[in-house]
């Protein structure tokens, strides 16, 4: 038990150092001038996912857990993805978002009229 725990302690220490390094990298990357915005966003999110993995796999012991927990998390992931990509319904205007949106300054934002993929004008 003691040897096993000593191994755990070493892992936790290394993960702690890794998390601090990745935090510095995240902040550093945000100041770096990438040619395209999407590259900066991808780098920022990739580092966040690595940090998330380190916490979940080691501190939450997901690298060595019972299968039922993985099943629960598998379902969670599926529902999460559905929820997360719901805004794409808006993007395709399948939910008929309003063309006139009142804004904070009292003005009204008018959606730019354009031809959609059916060739009809909004």
């Amino acid at each position: 038990m003691s040897n096993d725990m000593n191994h755990h302690i070493k892992v936790y220490r290394n993960v702690f150092i890794g998390l601090l390094i990745f935090t510095v990298l995240t902040v550093g990357a945000s100041y770096f001038d990438f040619s395209y915005v999407w590259i900066g966003v991808t780098v920022g999110l990739a580092i966040a996912f690595i940090k998330g993995y380190l916490v979940a796999a080691n501190f939450m012991h997901l690298n060595n857990e019972k299968s039922l927990i993985y099943i629960v998390l598998g379902f969670t992931l599926i529902f999460f993805l559905v929820l997360f990509f719901m805004p794409t319904l808006w993007h395709n205007d399948e939910m008929h978002s309003p063309e006139h949106i009142p804004m904070q300054n009292g003005e009204v934002y008018e959606q730019v009229k354009h031809n959609d993929h059916h060739g009809e004008e909004h």
Binding site: M1, S2, M5, H8, I9, Y12, R13, V15, F16, L19, L20, T23, T26, V27, A29, S30, G40, V41, G44, L45, I47, A48, K51, G52, V55, A56, F59, M60, K66, S67, L68, I69, V72, L73, F75, T76, F79, F80, L83, F84, F85, M86, P87, W90, H91, S97, M103, Q104, Y109
Partner: protein
């Protein structure tokens, strides 16, 4: 009535009941924060005025410090569980005390950030970005307060269970730790999403 399987593993799940319970709770938490993250992306992509909302004026150094504090608290939390596994109650109290200290430190820094915004007349109703910022960080802050209440109980009056049921108490700390690491995990994504990107 004795609650079953709080120490020994349940044969069909291979887990003690509280562990399955906390993971189901965390699954619901993923959906709660997932919905808000989704709303954030939708608002950000569809609001033509987003660039004028002053997202770049957030205090990145303070938020970075808060990230380091929360990561530290995650390590001290897991070390408090390790200490119990090693039958060392003194070290457990030290690490749990440090976890609580970090938690309060996080809230104090958040308070400084919030008051700076309010002093400049910036409220959740000011614009879409601030609405998202205050909602997400406020909800996360409530989770930190919830963690402080639970960990504070285990640091104070709840620790007496160690004398009568040490294994059950160790399991309780593991479950509280899973919740606390989740709070850390949420912040790991909130920090770049709100402050840096």
């Amino acid at each position: 009535m004795q609650i079953p399987y709080n120490e020994e593993l349940r044969p069909d799940t291979g887990l003690y009941n509280a562990k399955l319970g906390i993971w189901l709770f965390l699954a619901s938490e993923v959906m709660l924060f997932g919905g808000l993250f989704s709303a954030y992306i939708m608002l950000r992509l569809s609001d033509p005025n987003w660039a004028n909302y002053g997202q770049q004026n957030l205090n990145i150094p303070l938020a970075t410090l808060n990230t380091a504090i929360l990561i530290t608290s995650s390590v001290t939390m897991v070390m408090s569980w390790v200490s119990l596994k090693l039958q060392d109650l003194k070290k457990y109290s030290m690490y749990m005390g440090l976890t609580l200290l970090c938690s309060f430190g996080f809230l104090i820094i958040k308070y400084i950030e919030y008051t700076a915004k309010f002093d400049h007349g910036l409220y959740p109703s000011t614009n879409n970005f601030l609405a998202v910022y205050f909602t997400l960080t406020g909800l996360h802050g409530l989770h930190v307060i919830g963690g402080i209440i639970v960990n504070g109980y285990f640091f104070g009056p709840g620790v007496k269970m160690w004398k009568t049921e040490p294994e059950r108490f160790t399991n309780r700390i593991e479950v509280a730790g899973l919740y606390w690491h989740f709070v850390d995990l949420v912040w790991i994504f909130l920090f770049p999403a709100l402050y840096l990107l």
